[in-house]
Amino acid sequence: MNPDYNKKIIYTSLMIQFAFFCAILIISCSPDNYQKFNSNYDEFLDPMTGGETTIPDATSHAFATPAPNLSAVNLDRHFEGDTTFEAAFVTAPAQINSGLGPIFNNTSCVNCHIRNGRGKAPSNSRRMKSMLLRISLPKTDQEHVSSPIPVPGFGTQLNDRANFGQLAEGKISIEYSDKLVNYDDGHSLKLRVPNYKVYDTYQPLPKNVQISPRVAAPVFGLGLLEAIEEQTILQLADENDQNSDGISGRPNYVLDVQTMKMRLGRFGWKANEPSLLQQVAEAYHNDMGISNSLFPTDTSEGQKQFDLLKDDPEINDSILQATTFYVQSLAVPARRDLENPEVKKGAILFSRANCVSCHVPTLKTGKHPTIPEMSDQLIHPYTDLLLHDMGEDLADNRDDFIANGREWRTPPLWGIGLTYVVNGHTNFLHDGRARSLTEAILWHGGEAEKSRDFFLSLSSKDRESLIIFLESL
């Protein structure tokens, strides 16, 4: 064979190899690569948690940055919403931000969702600042799928604050007691068990009142969750556990107050809100006493605190839309520490523990009805947006549409490792009882019992790896 010809073949072959190698490298480094994951664990190591809405930010601003792919027009809309999200309301009549109360839980969105992040449970006997109690009466069989039944004189949320001269509906205190959990390796950990007390109510609360404590949840990435097609969520459901893995997962169906029809719920600790518009409108209404087009009167209507002012709705639709757009269009922080081998090891353990059955790592968004930037994104929210039985210890024993008292919606885990830098604490779960990610895992029961037991059986080094993985989210 002609040596030159031979060399030419080798060169050609090498150049093809080189081009191929470069192509692989470029593709794997490119933020635009969402196509597929080559190995089983690649999806756990994709830095682009929110697809094109991802930002590389590990600072206290990580939850408060506009999605980088917003158009100029939408960026302006986002900033308008930033202002309305921060606006503190005051007692009517006022020149600006009028209409607070008469009874309420807080004066602005950001006062609970501090830096757009997670609320904190107060320590023993301290006043609640970024959490609240939902309340209702038990359902009868006939009302199986209807809205929570309001408590006469109180509604469905306890407002523990009031305008001057008005009576708050009551005060709340939390007392914690200890509960010991033992690992298989002989180590143990103390969990804190909350006990809620409602006192100084302006009128007696019925004895059969059901109480559900809830901390403020992070508000970024929600536009992406809204863009997930209903079918995608329903495909993850396994209501009767037909695959016999001990995990069911079922959708909540809740009232859409605009159409007055039942619709898939996907937001809130019990998936009790069907859309971000309704979530925001209800927060204005229930949390701040601000009436709006979706909830046109004050929560105190029919109670002695009602102000009789003819000022409803207290915010116009442009404010409601601006705040809604704000929470729809925030960026999702990128993953960190992906070069750390412990992260990959933790991801493998997370998968082996079957956490992924509910905390689904990867989903694809469909078409967002109004924000194209949220459409067709491959995202890693670590949720299925479905309800799961989490066992007796976490049960609030309060019905919320279809959700029963033991069920909670799988909360997204994206950004969870940044909780401390953003909010200065590491309190997790619906009532913030867990003081660390480890405690949060140990509280899992019900459908998640096997996963928790798997965690209990791990060596301390492996437990640490799993936590390091979670902290990289």
Binding site: A58, A88, T91, R161, R336
Partner: protein
């Protein structure tokens, strides 16, 4: 040497060259020149001690001075005492506004910021409280909402609704409220200082321990980015919010510090706070080895000059707006518009060029 051996050597050489090329491309980060490793500890330590702690310490002291003047006002009800208290309020306002370029950590997570600086004032409830028989003690004021305490409630009492307060108008109830609200403000300012101080909450350690002992900041690069984000955050708020909003809507009710007509000083101090962080000292002048400027001037001197110039231009554009700001939004739109533009320019440089420089650095 046989051909096949030659080819083998050649093949190895080509593979090596290719791999090296790939590595070079992969590490060059979009073709930018590789940035020399730089020790950022001085910048971070300087920021924490010479900027943050120094600013909060001054805030704490100025809150004490304000309280003294209000105590005097209670005893000696004269226009001169009122003026002294007004001046002390304005003096305390300055370190606070400068501190808004680093509103992270306890200022937010412990709720000190809303407690000190909530706005608007809940005038309906304030009037109702004043007309009531409630004892206006400090613990009582503490139970009220943030919109009934802090800087702006005190401002409203000290200055009236249009910088027209007189001692005659300050009745006993108003002075009692003023005193308790000022004591509460003083306590919050001290708590904020203590929360950073090594002898108190020691948050400073989260900052200076970035990349090592810090639970919040896994790398020094993250901490430096926090500093840049803080600067960008307040610049954005001044340009687009504090100045831009009332200017675009021509609405003086949206103006910050509108009762005292102190808005322009507030805005100027906000940008001065940015300068402090950049230069690494509370007085805004660079000290040896400190300030982001020490890193930028070594790495990209052109950018360093650009940033310093843009900061000074931004401050100048604010001082060029005629007093009071609430009137200028309609009477002097050219100057106000110029300020919005100039501040926007500073924002673009910091969130673009400076942020990229930090991001491309090899700090860990």
């Amino acid at each position: 040497m046989k051909v096949s051996q030659k080819d083998s050597v050649l093949r190895q050489a080509v593979v090596t060259i290719c791999m090296s090329l790939v590595l070079v491309f992969a590490c060059s980060n979009k073709g930018r020149d590789k940035i020399q490793a730089y020790e950022p500890k001085n910048i971070i330590d300087g920021f924490a001690n010479k900027v943050v702690i120094a600013t909060y310490s001054d805030l704490d002291q100025k809150s004490g001075a304000l309280l003294q003047t209000v105590e005097t006002l209670k005893i000696n009800k004269t226009d001169a005492s009122l003026k002294q208290a007004q001046d002390a309020w304005k003096a305390m306002r300055r370190p606070w506004e400068q501190s808004e370029s680093f509103l992270f950590g306890p200022a937010d997570t412990n709720g000190y910021d809303p407690k000190l600086d909530s706005w608007p004032v809940n005038k309906v409830d304030l009037d109702a409280v004043l007309s009531s028989g409630e004892k206006l003690t400090v613990p009582y004021i503490e139970t009220l909402e943030d919109e009934l305490k802090g800087f702006h409630t005190i401002e409203y009492l000290l200055f009236g609704s249009k910088n027209d307060q007189t001692i005659k108008n300050l009745d006993v109830r108003k002075i009692e409220y003023l005193l308790s609200a000022t004591q509460s403000l003083r306590k919050t300012a001290s708590d904020l200082y203590k929360s950073w101080s090594p002898s108190g909450g020691n948050f400073i350690l989260e900052v200076t321990g970035a990349g090592s002992s810090s639970k919040a900041y896994g790398s020094r690069k993250d901490m430096l980015q926090e500093m840049v984000n803080g600067m960008v955050g307040i610049i954005d708020e001044v340009g687009n919010g504090k100045i831009g909003d009332p200017y675009n809507k021509k609405d003086p009710t949206l103006v910050e510090s509108q009762f005292s007509y102190n808005s322009l000083q507030d805005f100027q101090d906000n940008i001065t706070g940015v300068k402090n962080v950049y230069m690494g000292s509370y007085t805004g002048t660079s000290t040896a080895g400190g300030g982001l400027t020490s890193f930028v001037s070594e790495t990209n001197p052109e950018l360093d000059n650009k940033i310093k110039l843009a900061i000074d231009e931004a401050i100048k554009s604010i001082t060029s707006i005629p007093y009071p700001f609430r009137d200028s939004i309609t009477k002097h739109p050219t100057q106000v518009g110029k300020a919005v533009q100039t501040i926007g320019n500073l924002q673009t440089i910091l969130e673009g060029d400076l942020s990229a420089l930090i991001s491309d650095s090899e700090f860990n």
